[in-house]
Amino acid sequence: GEENEDEAIQSTNDGNSSNTEDTQEASAEEPENEDENDSDNQEQDGDRDDWPDKLRFADTGVEGMEELQREFGPFKEALEDVLDIEVEFFAVTDRIIGATALEYDQVDMMLAGPSEYVQINSTVPESYPFVGIERDEYHAAFIVHEDSEYETLDDIVGTSIAMKDAGSTSGHIGPSSILIEEGYDLDQDFDIQLLDSIRIEAFKNDEVDVLATGIKDYHEMVEEDGEGNYRLIHEGPPLPNDVFLASPELPEDFVEEVKTLMIDHQEQILGSILETGENDKYIQARFLEAQDSDYDPMRRAYETLGLDFD
């Protein structure tokens, strides 16, 4: 079946508009493709009229795959190769813009973090996830200095905690929801500072007592400064997967097709993501099907944080 799917999408690529006549014109112009799979093509044209001829793909800077933001070439090529459709890739550095672009049909598919997905889904309720990236070691952690007296979460009541920016999965929503679930009052019990990209330096310089962030940051700090400097006092449960999500404007059978292809070719695609990065050792990743319900815990975290999107 693999081959078939492949070619099916290829034919979509040829028929670049919503009516059959156009499709045939286009096909006629490129007899090469027609030769390959003539009958199949004719048959499927009917329900593939509405398939896009170009996939607008945005990446909102998923944690651990930041490299993809700037070195997206191989990934884009792999995707084009696998899906056999032209892919327009946008590295968007702000999740709000990504969400808004999807809402206003300026983008077809996105790679987003769990927290982003929840946000986007709340604005565009019909958007849905179709492939998740499962990774090792994707959870929030509470880090203190080795020589500090803090051992448990109870000890850090009354201290200052550095987190990332509002809405970050592992650097805000994750740790916050842990604290909430443990029964603390975020406003009363801690001095939480959202320091974004200077959180680690601020922590290293004792500006704050505790750093609550993704486990990846911990590994990085250990790598930089050696063992024995930092201590984990609490690790949260695994966070939901990063997701590829689809715009409701895309035909569902097309998304289905893409999903199958991606899962089938995951080594090639994941390989292309990791090819450029240096942090691949933290990403023992694989693709799997994603459900909207996977993100309900995230939603609850948002709710308990009082960050609801009207």
Binding site: E66, A91, A101
Partner: protein, 257 residues
């Protein structure tokens, strides 16, 4: 003999008092304790040393990003500058056709400037989609907010003598503007415009916002990955471009000043 000190006007007194009060409040608020500066200096050196030596391994990729950014910044700024000139003329006391037009134009320019880049990026992404075009539009808006304001300030400072000399020949407003205001303001316009180019390059992050890539994304990725030596390399590259732009500015100004 004039008195040593003129009695300051009520407005001056109120203004000064307000300034001094706010300043002192601000200083208190900031708990200024400059001694910390020295205590922290070793920390700082340690941090800075993590950025040395700059890491040139990605220089080709970075240069390409820079080149792309430069192109887009150039287009956006050039269009912005061209649009700024008429806007500035409408906004200046001495060239505006009417008081109300002046007030409205000024208001619009201030608004362009006040609305953050993020919102502009949003607006343009919504209307024209992701990509360089949205970036260019954002840069155009930024440039107008900046240049129109500075052009207008300069226009108001131009001595009125030469303009009156042209007016006295029966010249139209446009004649006076093209013959006197523009030539006399030219050195300053050049400086401001080339500063705007530089500014657009430096604020290349906005291109990242709209998915147009560029040097801003490179820099912020280096930061997120805490590769400070790579970040330093990028900063150095930007600095080189900034200095080149400044040199061009000086060279042009030297001819027309």
């Amino acid at each position: 003999m004039p008195a040593r000190f003129q009695r300051p006007s009520i407005t001056t007194i109120i203004g000064l008092t307000a300034f001094v009060t706010l300043f002192i409040l601000g200083v208190t608020h900031a708990q200024l304790s400059f001694d910390r500066i020295f205590s922290g200096i070793t920390n700082m050196l340690r941090f800075l040393s993590s950025a040395f030596p700059p890491d040139p391994s990605r220089i080709t990729a970075i240069s390409n990003a820079m080149y792309e950014t430069f192109q887009i910044a150039l287009v956006g700024t050039a269009i912005g500058v061209v649009l700024s000139v008429p806007i500035a003329l409408l906004a200046s006391t001495n060239t505006s056709p009417h008081f109300s037009i002046r007030v409205i134009t000024r208001g619009i320019v201030s608004t362009l400037r006040t609305i953050p880049d993020l919102i502009w990026a949003l607006i343009f992404v919504i209307s024209v989609g992701l990509g360089p075009l949205a970036g260019i539009l954002t840069i155009i808006v930024d440039t107008i907010g900046f240049c129109a304001r500075f052009f207008s300030e300069r226009i108001e400072e131009i001595q009125k003598g030469p303009s009156q000399a042209l007016e006295s020949t029966g010249a139209t407003k446009i004649g006076v503007i093209s013959g006197s205001i523009i030539p006399l303001g030219f050195p300053s316009f050049v400086a401001t415009s080339l500063f705007a180019v530089e500014k657009s390059i430096r604020s290349a992050v906005v291109l990242g916002l709209v998915g147009a890539g560029g040097i801003g994304v490179e820099l912020s990725t280096s930061f997120t990955l805490r590769r400070y030596d790579e970040a330093l390399m990028i900063v150095i590259l930007i600095l080189v471009v900034v200095i080149i732009v400044e040199q061009i500015s000086s060279a042009i100004r030297k001819k027309v000043i």
